[in-house]
């Protein structure tokens, strides 16, 4: 947008400025409506689910009196819409309520578990992109060659292999037998509580503290789950890259470029790849978002205290405040990533300006 503005002439500045304002306002309204809808649907699902949140708090043995008392304390005797109204008011004040189960503020819980997931998903996506993109490009350029076949098999395995199995096998081989990586959990016991929590991401915190031992240990723990997530994301990204590239490589402007005698490298990376960047960004952003909320099984196997397992545990225990809080955060991430990729479209795709 900054680029667009700087190119504007003085005569057009005001309308363009207004257009930008309008666009921002539109985006904000659409974000607000999306979030409101998301919260409403989740809230209603939470209320109609055949799970009893009161029982989750009082436990199996509770007498009816204890049950009734907690039922009222939780405000469940009020109409659902009124309950939603109160909830909305609290969320707008940044309060997701208390976890029904562990009686801590949900926002505090999310602050604790989100960095673990963010760290894992970021590294996973990084691995996925670093391998997936070149693999996809090469597979497209040398279509039908051995590298294309390998890329296809690797992606197919990535799509079809249950992550649960892959995770356990990875643990067994690289941790159990070879001892090359750290085990489940984020750190060895000996390193826990050695660095101050600043961001909650241990790799970052240990770097900030300049503690290389902790960094190495944390890295040895995160690399396996991140590689496994990265493998899945790589399978997706490489297939998408390949098909985007194939589309471009058969386009007339590529043929023209080749006829003009441009070096092949330039044709592939500057012309063809340059044109798929935008689509690729969307793919990567989606893949990243998936890893942020969809890494439940990986988190379970690797005893990784992240957002995915937090929401799942909450769901199974009928802790609706925690489920709602988690859902709002995940929803917000999706929305933000969408806005982010829209923004990149604006920058990279001249047609979107």
């Amino acid at each position: 947008m900054a680029l667009a503005e700087s190119r504007g002439t003085g005569r057009h500045r005001l309308p363009r400025f207004q257009r930008i304002l309008l666009k921002i306002a539109k985006t904000l309204v659409s974000v607000a409506i999306t979030m409101l809808g998301l919260m409403f649907v989740t809230f209603i699902i939470g209320r109609v689910m055949p799970v009893d949140p009161v029982l989750a708090v009082v436990g199996e043995r509770a007498t009816n009196e204890v049950y009734e008392q907690v039922y009222r304390e939780m405000g469940l005797d009020r109409p659902v819409l009124v309950q939603f109204g109160y909830y909305l008011r609290d969320v707008l004040h940044g309060d997701f309520g208390m976890s029904l189960l562990n009686a801590r503020p949900v926002s505090e819980d999310i602050r604790r578990v989100f960095p673990a997931t963010f760290e894992l998903a970021t590294l996973g996506t990084l691995i996925g992109v670093l391998i997936g993109v070149p693999l996809g490009v090469m597979a497209a350029v040398r279509r039908g060659s051995w590298i294309d076949q390998i890329a296809r098999v690797v992606a197919l395995v990535g799509y079809s292999m249950p992550i649960f199995w892959l995770g356990l096998m990875g643990l067994l081989i690289f941790y159990g037998i070879l001892g090359w990586v750290g085990g489940p959990g984020r750190l060895d016991i000996a390193y826990e509580y050695m660095v101050e929590t600043r961001t909650g991401m241990i790799l970052v915190d240990s770097l900030l503290a300049g503690n290389w031992d902790v960094f190495r240990n944390a890295f040895s723990h995160i690399i396996l789950p991140a590689s496994i997530l990265g493998y899945y994301s790589m399978a997706y990204i490489s297939r998408m890259t390949r098909s985007f590239m194939l589309e471009q490589l058969s386009a007339e402007y590529i043929i023209t470029a080749r006829v003009k005698g441009l070096p092949e490298r330039r044709v592939i990376w500057k012309h063809a790849f340059g044109n798929i960047r935008v689509q690729l960004i969307t793919v990567i952003a989606l893949s990243f978002a998936n890893l942020l909320e969809g890494a439940v099984l990986t988190e379970t196997i690797f005893a990784w205290p992240g957002l995915g397992s937090y929401i799942t545990t909450a769901l199974l225990s009928a802790d609706m405040n925690a489920v709602l809080g988690g859902t709002v955060v995940v929803g917000l991430i999706f929305v933000l990533l969408n806005i982010f990729s829209d923004l990149l479209y604006q920058i990279f795709d001249p047609r979107a300006k």
């Binding site: 009816n64 204890v66 976890s99 801590r104 391998i131 190495r216 890295f219 196997i301």
Partner: protein, 531 residues
């Protein structure tokens, strides 16, 4: 292609760095005990409220009680802990405890009779789920200050009527009997909650350990309490890590990154047998696995049908296959090792006998809905039952759901059949007799949802007064006999098919010694552990 080359090299480098051997694994520090356990059931650590397995494990190590169990001699029953001795009044209604002198809380505050009385009063006043363990003696938030009071270094407890002294004392060994540091707790009181919110995540006790931190679904860390009066525990720190997967626990144990794995499934236990440096312990726990049929159902309420279902369970087959090593056949509601427990297991899979009983009842093929929780072993039990019931013409329609889903319907008397488990709340026979065979008001409006007999709409066929009589019997032998008689009648009449008692299999590094899980009567004890 240099760009491509650079990227590929970078990716390869990233992987290489990742595959550098991990620094120093293989052994945990000698004075730290590291345990893998499922701890996602902990909802609070306030002893007046805590009622889950993993929570009891923490509580037992951070709170002392008036009387408690010696982990190295559980069979001896309750022993003096904060109380030096006790006297029972002639009418049997008042127990006077004399406190030990000179003991301190972790905070350094002296442990007074006032703290003990206040802790018990508080549990009654807060009226949280486990409060029934105390309120069954007639304590109410209104009268508890008169019924439980401190006088000098004595705590005087007066019950509404005479109960077996052993019953009262056994109840005081439950988690809710944990004695709190009143001064510390009240400093954290908010809106008259008697420190409840603060105690959910903090400790104020006098046990061998104190709480360092509890991160839900992540870790519990304990460290030794310098003011504990006993010999200093060899394990200065205890770290319990939440590891949900059995296979993951096994790997961690094999690698030596943990000392104890608490949730190994039969396959992983079998896989660990004979592994170097690893030992497997089996300990009988209190949990009972049972099925029950709703007496509101016109067919299931026939006495012959109730008996027939007990012959439609493949006890031996299940014990020897998917429950191997984890459950043992047990057909009585009192767990083995409890006062009055019996080991008579008269039922076995006998399709012909069941068909005969069904014919006597004049019942043809029928379908019922059975609720079962989404847990591996329970689903397998349900499938086995589905198979054997079908052989006698009973179609089991399984409704599978989360614990809370199924439980909600069970408590609302809404299931034809329930397949589930029950763990004792305190180490006295009344804990199970008072729920399986006791139902003073069978009407729907009574809503005695805590009682299993009520949930199945069973009026107990005359067992209720017998349970009431047993709980006030002072003679121990006579009391034990009363429970044996109640269980014999229960086997013959009840709509419950009790099937198995739990065995907990724990994997540990073989240098870990003296780890007591607490048997069927209490929770785990870390303080005697050595490595």
């Amino acid at each position: 292609m240099s760009f491509l080359k650079n990227i590929t090299t970078a990716a390869a480098m990233a992987l290489m760095v990742g595959l550098v051997p991990a620094p120093g694994t293989a052994e945990t520090p000698t004075d730290v005990l590291v345990i893998a356990n499922r701890i996602d059931d902990i909802t609070t650590l306030d002893p007046a409220e805590s009622f889950e397995f993993a929570g009891s494990d923490v509580s037992r190590n951070i709170y002392s009680k008036l009387v408690n169990f010696d982990p190295m001699n559980l069979d001896a029953g309750y022993q003096p802990e904060l109380a030096a001795s006790w006297d029972v009044s002639e009418d049997g209604k008042t127990i006077t405890f004399t406190m030990k002198e000179g003991l301190k809380f972790a905070s350094g505050n002296p442990i007074r009779a006032e703290d003990a009385a206040w802790s018990l009063q508080r549990a009654v006043k807060l009226n949280k789920t486990p409060s029934f363990i105390l309120t069954q003696f007639g304590f109410t938030p209104e009268n508890v200050e008169q019924m439980i009071r401190a006088d000098g270094n004595k705590v005087i407890i007066t019950t509404d009527k005479q109960y077996a002294t052993s019953f009262v004392l056994n109840c005081l060994t439950a988690t809710i009997g944990g004695i709190l540091d009143k001064e510390v707790v009240m400093q954290h009181e908010v809106d008259g909650d008697m420190g409840n919110a603060w105690l959910k995540t903090n400790s104020a006790g006098s046990g061998p350990y104190k709480l360092v931190t509890w991160k839900p679904n992540e870790t519990v860390v304990l460290e030794t309490n310098p003011n504990w009066w006993g010999p200093e525990p060899a394990m200065k720190r205890v770290i319990v890590r939440h590891v949900a997967e059995s296979a993951t626990q096994r790997l961690l144990l094999e690698r030596g990154d943990i000392d104890v794995a608490r949730n190994l499934n039969p396959q992983d236990v079998a896989g660990l047998e004979g592994a170097p440096g690893i030992a497997i312990d089996s300990e009988l726990r209190g949990r009972i696995m049972y099925i029950a049929v709703n007496q509101k159902h016109p067919i299931l309420s026939k006495p012959e049908v109730r008996q027939a279902i007990k012959y439609l369970i493949d006890y031996q087959g299940m014990q020897d296959s998917f429950l191997k090593g984890q459950y043992v056949i047990h057909q009585n509601f009192l767990p083995a090792t409890y006062l009055g427990a019996v080991d008579e297991n008269p039922f076995s899979l006998d399709i012909e006998k069941a068909k005969e009983l069904l014919a006597q009842a004049g019942v043809g093929p029928f379908e019922i809905e059975a609720g079962v929780r989404e847990a591996q072993e329970r689903l397998e039990i349900a499938q086995s039952l589905q198979n054997t019931f079908a052989q006698a013409g009973i179609t089991l329609k399984l409704t599978v759901g989360t614990g809370k889903q199924i439980l909600g319907r069970y408590r609302a008397r809404d299931l034809d059949m329930y397949i589930g488990a029950w763990g004792p709340d305190y180490p006295d026979p009344h804990t199970n007799a008072g729920t399986f065979a006791y139902n003073p008001d069978n009407r729907d409006e009574a809503k005695l949802t805590g009682l299993l007999a009520w949930r199945n709409a069973w009026d107990t066929d005359g067992l209720t007064p017998k349970v009431e009589a047993a709980v006030i019997e002072k003679d121990r032998d006579l009391r034990a006999q009363m429970y044996r008689d109640i269980q014999a009648e229960f086997r013959a009449k009840s709509p419950f098919g009790i099937m198995f008692q739990r065995i907990e299999q724990t994997g540990r590094r073989d240098n870990v010694q003296n780890l007591s899980l607490g048997g069927a009567i209490t929770a785990v004890s870390y303080w005697p552990v050595t490595k």
